[in-house]
Amino acid sequence: MNEIPGDLKFMKSHEWARVEDNGTVTIGISDHAQGLLGDLVYVELPAVGDEVQAGNACAVVESVKAASDVYAPISGKVMAVNSALADKPETINEDAYGEGWIYVVKPTNLAEESEELLDPDAYAELIESEEH
């Protein structure tokens, strides 16, 4: 079981968000989520410049088994996407909290929206309860 880094916040739908020093927010899916999906074979990324709305689907991760929407934890403008995932989607399986990041937004409503997110302990509790 991977340790959950302390600087992340989570949605109940297993996306993580990390506020960077420059004020942007990096988004990915949790290690637990990649484990549920199994081997990832395709990631549909948002486009740089897209305006994403918290709670809306903004990317898709596909494993051999199923396609799964990635919901935006934080509203904002997409500043960067992890285009390396196009050729190596399995990076998310290998390093969900690091090299497997999906996109970066410049947030428009960070303070309010981040209060809606779970801290690592609350998220760990959530996945614990889902497993039983």
Partner: protein, 361 residues
């Protein structure tokens, strides 16, 4: 209630991710579905397929019964041990199930049917068997392990007694033989060589453990699905069901319209053939990135169709699918993926045989 095979605890001890499949608690994967897939294509892998139903048929008129019950002709089986793939149809030509039947003696044939169709298959077989005085016995006491891959046969053979090994080495494709208390068939659902071994429950865990020690990789239903789709093999319930005839499911090769044989569904099949079969099952390959999925719309100049089985092919590194489309469709088409039309090619399948991509795929 969820059913467990005798190997359930073994799967869990190996760290398998379990899923419900047709009412059975079965391993989806033991870590990585793609690695398990490659293990079967490149070396040897094994599947617990004990959830499948083994039915023994006894009686002097069993051959006559099966001549009537199956769309393929049981009279193709002339040598003891020989196997045949067939559909079992209803009166309207729809597929009740697909199965493998083994000819053992004139008084004894063995049939292996799908797990998810267990109840309706047994009810249908028993009902039809009455007129032929055939005794139908479900063999819930038997387990089944499929060992598949280029090195599968050698690894199994090394575990057998000298006498049985000799028989297993000589075994032709689509033939079964008894030995060491096992029923060893050179059949499979992966497009690779190998054996499907029917084993008494009490011996199943021991056999599995010996195969692990021999370097056979456990593989789950996830890999089984990508392997069979690459190999161009239908999955009941997804690629065909009781509303679909073999003509529409790419299974014409399994229908034997031999003269004077009155099998169930024949009249409906002949009628549909004479009128022209409106839809056909085709293979699709997508060269762009992404994954084809069950239920996606296929757009062709001749009209729309639908994806039946779709997946990412680990061997080809791209998405493949079976689709049912207007019979006249050929060449190129598009698939509606989340509202976007993506180009696909209609191809002949299998997509992969004996570890290699097939021509034109």
């Amino acid at each position: 209630m969820t059913q467990h095979t005798i190997l359930n605890a073994t799967h869990r001890a190996l760290g398998a991710k379990m899923v419900d499949f047709g009412g059975w608690d079965m391993p989806l994967n033991y870590g990585s579905q793609i690695e398990e897939h490659h293990a079967v294509r490149r070396d040897a892998g094994m599947f617990d397929v004990s959830h499948m139903t083994v039915v023994d048929l006894h009686g002097a008129k069993t051959r006559a019964f099966l001549r009537h019950l199956f769309a393929n002709n049981i009279d193709k089986l002339k040598v003891s041990g020989k196997a045949l793939y067939s559909c079992m149809l209803n009166e309207t030509g729809g597929v009740i199930d697909d199965l493998i039947v083994y000819f053992l003696t004139e008084n004894f044939f063995r049939v292996v049917v799908n797990a998810a169709t267990h109840d309706k298959d047994l009810a249908w077989i028993e009902k039809q068997a009455e007129a032929f005085d055939v005794k139908v016995t479900e063999r819930a006491d038997l387990s089944m392990i499929a060992v598949q891959g280029p090195n599968a046969r050698a690894k199994v053979q090394a575990l057998l007694s000298p006498t049985t090994r000799e028989k297993a080495i000589k075994l032709g494709k689509f033939v079964a033989v008894d030995g060491d208390g096992l029923f060893i068939a050179r059949t499979g659902y992966t497009g690779e060589d190998g054996y499907e071994i029917i084993v008494p429950q009490a011996q199943a865990v021991g056999l599995w453990d010996k195969l692990i020690a021999a370097g056979v990789a456990p593989a789950g239903l996830g890999a089984r699905d990508t392997l069979r789709l690459e190999a161009g093999m239908n999955l009941y319930g997804q690629d065909m069901d009781e509303t679909i005839t073999p003509w529409e499911a790419g299974l014409a090769w399994t229908v034997s319209l031999d003269e004077g044989r009155d099998f169930i569904g024949r009249a409906a099949l002949e009628k549909q053939k004479a009128a022209g079969v409106p839809r056909a099952m085709v293979g699709l390959v997508m060269d762009e990135k992404g994954v084809l999925r069950h239920g996606q719309r296929v757009v062709t100049p001749q009209g729309d169709g639908e994806i039946l089985s779709g997946t990412f092919s680990p061997t080809l590194g791209k998405a493949i699918a079976f689709a049912r489309v207007p019979a006249a469709a050929s060449g190129n088409a598009e698939v509606d993926i989340r509202g976007k039309l993506v180009a696909v090619r209609l191809v002949k399948y299998p997509f992969v045989r004996d570890g290699k991509a097939c021509a034109g795929v």
